[in-house]
Symmetry: C2
Subunit: 203 residues, 2 copies
């Protein structure tokens, strides 16, 4: 899988929103294979001594981020309504994404969850909200939500988060190409360029 | 001064290095007036409870930054030698930059200090190193180094740092256009685009 770009995303993460909305199209344009890697920032932040988002802990950083996100969304034509709760609990949504690893509807699900959180200010921690998102994709919600709570899927998400830590990931979105790491929505183009150069080298 | 872009830089800051090396040329290309605003991150970090660079406090962030900086410098054709001391004390260099606010050699001095710190691994806290940098620019070092230690110049640097805090600046490099703030070397193009749109609107 040397020509693969891995997209490490967290449903509560603000900058992951614009990245998630454009990554599939961007990869398609340059012919790069995309792998969706849901993970949780909570355990990674906790290991750094944070029990909240750094955007809440450091107010000037937070104020800047919301304004910056507004500019990014405006330029990308993405709707943005600042969530009344931030960060939202993303555990169940991340588990659904893990359960759907091989499903054709995974990309649509990821985008719909970000839209619910950041464009509609909906509580993505609520099973009813996720059920509606799944129904909107034509997916029977009940079996998927049940699978998302299986110990197998729970373990899969823990393994993703462990792997993220091992790779040195400390924020989201992150992109990896082999062992090379790129952090931030604004590094997607760099990651794609890196992937292509690498493919030329090894291919 | 509505058509002005302010460049907030800190001589110890890694990402300020590539920004400092390209900002004058970038502003000239698009016809934007540039104002150099040296400030200190130390007091701003201290207000957030940090007594060191976050790149030292959070090792995974630090490891990523050094690799990312390497990629950025490689692409920009900038030499990079990782400083054996990080962050370096930038107080005296910042004071010299304040003392030289109206000097034609200020941009050259700024670039030469970054080069000394990040390409040559020299101690920019040492008066002898700064004297050599000044001599290299054809500037008599002694009177400038003396002026840099005057209470007037010390106060000017404190005022810059206070203004940075008031503007919500929490890292370097930052760019401001009016009250609009942009953070990070990778936001220079956004700041320039913002400045031009704004000039069209008000001009």
């Amino acid at each position: 899988m040397r020509s693969e770009l891995q997209f490490w995303f967290e449903f509560a993460s603000t900058y992951s929103y614009p990245a998630a909305m454009r990554i599939e199209a961007q990869c398609a344009v340059v012919g790069v294979q995309l792998r969706w890697r849901p993970f949780l920032l909570g355990p990674i932040f906790a290991a750094q001594g944070w029990n909240d988002s750094p955007f809440n802990i450091y107010p000037s950083k937070g104020r800047y981020m919301w304004r910056d996100l507004e500019r990014i969304c405006m330029r990308a034509g993405l709707p943005l309504r600042r969530p009344t709760q931030f960060p939202r609990n993303s555990l169940l949504a991340a588990r659904v994404a893990c359960a759907a690893a091989d499903a054709a509807w995974l990309p649509g699900f990821v985008r719909a969850v970000y839209h619910a959180n950041f464009a509609e200010d909906r509580d993505i921690a609520a099973p009813a909200v996720l059920a509606e998102v799944l129904a909107g994709l034509g997916v029977a919600a009940e079996p998927i939500l049940a699978a998302a709570q299986s110990s197998d899927v729970k373990q899969r998400l823990r393994a993703h988060t462990d792997e993220a830590m091992r790779r040195g990931i400390f924020g989201a979105p992150s992109f990896s190409v082999g062992e090379e790491l790129f952090w931030g929505n604004d590094r997607l183009e760099d990651a794609l360029a890196w992937q292509r150069t690498r493919a030329d080298r090894v291919g």
